[in-house]
């Protein structure tokens, strides 16, 4: 008996030791992962293009960059595109010190950022890559509202509305006495950031008592089955679910009610819930690094616009994308917005 207890005891400690050793081994493995052969001197690569491309910036543009980068790297295996997510502002900070080759931005570059770039001698090429539009939807059975103003949307979605605004008749007095059911994207989504910025004046400022989901389908389900439902999500997703939901017109600054469509989003009349999104390219990197040039050309090539749609955005219409391609080949520097906002600016006129 004594022998067996001793034996089993030692066995357990052996087992434990083995386990701990195993765990330690697992822990030790992690840092050695990643890093493939990168700067492999170009000559043996099939496309002849090799090297690193540094992209950083907006989380809104990230899905496009990521999709483009994946396909681009598959076609050019010797290249390595690193896409970071520091936000538009954080991206420009790195871009204007020359750290990154391309900066993703969900808004035009600001005056102070232009100055920072100038001081560091960084010239940039501003390229719209897609449109990001938000559609506000209601149940198809909703017959009392066609058009909402941004003030009314603010009444519904403002942080102060939390627990207070719960009925349609609080939005506009002639609306019926119908409970308001709210659905929208979660706080990690770029759509949420833009909507709260455009409607509530501050990114991230929103009431919290609504059905928030990172899955747009939840919004479709919720609004589709709730007579008093109201929700919002990206226009591209609405296109896929047209007919199940009713898209509202939004009154723009000129006082017109405009329904979201590819045309109204592209020409800037569907405002403020639509905007172009950009990449900013370091001109020097574009001219001296063939891999950056190849990647930028790849991104603006209309042949790849399907990747934009897949990422949930609206590809640029043909006339605009033509101008963007021309802008790339001429390496036109400077911002068409001159440090201002993109709201209400017709992109096709400015490019």
């Amino acid at each position: 008996m004594v022998l067996t207890t001793l034996l089993s005891r030692s066995a357990y400690s052996v087992a434990l030791a083995a386990l701990v050793a195993g765990l330690a081994a697992c822990g030790g493995d992690s840092p050695t992962a990643t890093t493939e052969g990168t700067d492999a001197g170009g000559t043996d690569s099939p496309s002849g293009i090799a090297g690193d491309i540094q992209v950083d910036g907006s989380s809104t543009v990230f899905p496009i960059s990521e999709a483009m980068a994946e396909e681009f790297m598959a076609a050019n295996p010797e290249t390595r595109v690193t896409v970071g997510v520091s936000g538009t502002g954080g991206g420009f900070e790195k871009f204007c010190t020359g750290e990154t080759d391309i900066s993703n931005a969900s808004r035009p570059i600001k005056q102070e950022e232009i100055e920072a770039c100038e001081q560091a001698g960084v010239e940039f090429v501003e390229l719209p890559v897609a449109f990001d539009g938000i559609t506000v939807v209601t149940n198809t059975g909703n017959d009392w509202v066609q058009c909402l103003t941004t003030e009314e949307l603010n009444t519904i979605w403002a942080p102060e509305a939390e627990g207070q605004v719960a009925n349609w008749n609080q939005v506009r007095p002639d609306f019926p006495n119908q409970p308001l059911g709210l659905y929208g994207p979660g706080t990690d989504s770029g759509t949420f950031d833009y909507f709260t910025d455009a409607i509530n004046g501050e990114e991230g400022a929103s009431r919290g008592d609504y059905t928030a989901s990172e899955d747009d389908n939840v919004v479709v389900q919720g609004v589709g089955s709730d007579d008093g439902g109201l929700g919002y999500f990206g226009y591209a997703y609405y296109e896929e679910n047209e007919g199940q939901l009713k898209a509202l017109e939004i009154e723009n600054e000129a006082g017109e009610c405009v329904a979201p469509s590819r045309e109204t989003i592209a020409d800037g009349t569907y405002a403020p819930l639509a905007r172009p999104i950009f990449i900013y390219v370091n001109r020097e990197a574009y001219e001296t690094k063939p891999q950056v040039q190849a990647f930028v050309d790849y991104q603006v090539d209309p042949a790849n616009e399907e990747l934009v749609s897949e990422a949930g955005y609206i590809a640029l219409p043909a006339d605009i994308s033509e101008k963007v391609v021309a802008r790339v080949s001429n390496a036109t520097t400077g911002s068409i917005y001159e440090g201002g906002s993109s709201v209400g600016v017709k992109l096709s006129d400015k490019l």
Binding site: L16, L19, P159
Partner: protein, 311 residues
């Protein structure tokens, strides 16, 4: 064991290789010990992580706010941390689930063990257990896409996401657990007790309600509590069908957000590790863990206290 073996035994003589069987024996002990240790260490690791992150959470959020805030909006700019918003939703769906699972499961168990012919029982019991094998995501979509529209046809103000259909289907999903465990408890009541009851002139129904069920009570209650724990921890059904809108209250017709649904919501986004939002899921997880722990301890105590022992 200690029989002397001649040092030069002839090859034709068979001898057990004791040295080797000892080694194998040791190896088996090591292997089984290692596996037992893995499960224990995993549990300890989970509890330690939960405690550590929860502690971090309460360094930023006062415990009092956690208990008394009337809203749950940790991801928004107006941060409030009223855990009872989530607890109320979890309790609501679980109560509805138990209201479904208790009668269904218990009656099924009684039918199986008391009324069914042995042959029928042999077929019915595995069929009932198949229900337990349905993935909960399937139950969730069933609740969302089939049960809710059906209920809406006669409950007009029922919203697309609601606690009611989630709770009903949650109840169906835990019914096999209640039925199977209760049935085991009822079935193991000695036949002699039933015979005694019949000998006194009791009918079958009287025997079941007055003798068999009280005798099996501890097992039934244990199965029920286990089922409640499952309902509280169940994730997919409530995430899909009950919605993700943190509302305080016990209205089963509107979207609610259970604790598990909140954890799913945060885990699906790209919440940075170490942020307050990230820590909230551990605080919620800890609450969930404590709730099921209390239930399990209660069940353990109840079974001990009320178990009827028969020879």
């Amino acid at each position: 064991m200690t029989a002397e073996v001649p040092p030069q035994s002839s090859a034709s003589l068979w001898r057990p290789n004791r040295q080797r069987s000892k080694q194998i024996q040791n190896l088996v002990v090591v292997i089984t010990g290692a596996f037992a240790a893995i499960s224990i260490l995993t549990t300890l690791g989970i509890v330690a992580t939960l405690m550590f992150e929860t502690f971090e959470f309460f360094r930023e959020v006062p415990f009092w706010n956690f208990l008394t805030d009337r809203r749950w909006t940790p991801l928004f700019s107006s941060k409030q941390f009223g855990i009872f918003v989530l607890i109320s939703a979890t309790v609501l769906t679980s109560v509805i689930a138990i209201l479904v699972a208790l009668p269904l499961g218990l009656l099924a168990a009684i039918c199986l063990s008391e009324y069914a012919q042995p042959k029928t029982r042999r077929i019915l019991k595995p069929v009932l257990e198949i229900l337990a094998g349905i993935p909960s995501v399937v139950f969730g979509y069933f609740a969302l896409l089939t049960v809710t529209p059906f209920l809406q046809s006669f409950i007009p103000n029922l919203q697309g996401f609601n606690a009611l259909s989630a709770g009903l289907i949650l109840g169906i999903s835990i019914t096999p657990l209640v039925a199977s465990l209760s049935e085991d408890a009822i079935y193991s009541v000695p036949q002699s007790l039933r015979d005694g009851s019949y000998a006194l002139g009791a009918t079958r129904r009287e025997t079941i309600t007055a003798v068999v069920l009280p005798a099996a009570l501890s097992g039934i209650v244990a199965s029920l509590i286990l089922a409640v724990s499952r309902a509280i921890g169940e994730t997919m059904i409530v995430t899909l069908a009950a919605g993700q809108n943190p509302t305080l209250g016990l209205n089963p017709f509107v979207p609610v957000m259970t604790m598990t649904a909140y954890i799913v919501q945060v885990s699906l986004g790209d919440t940075p590790v170490g942020s307050l939002a990230f820590k909230t899921i551990f605080a919620v997880g800890m609450t969930l863990f404590l709730m099921t722990l209390v239930l399990n301890l209660f069940s353990f105590w109840f079974v001990r206290r009320f178990r009827e022992k028969y020879e």
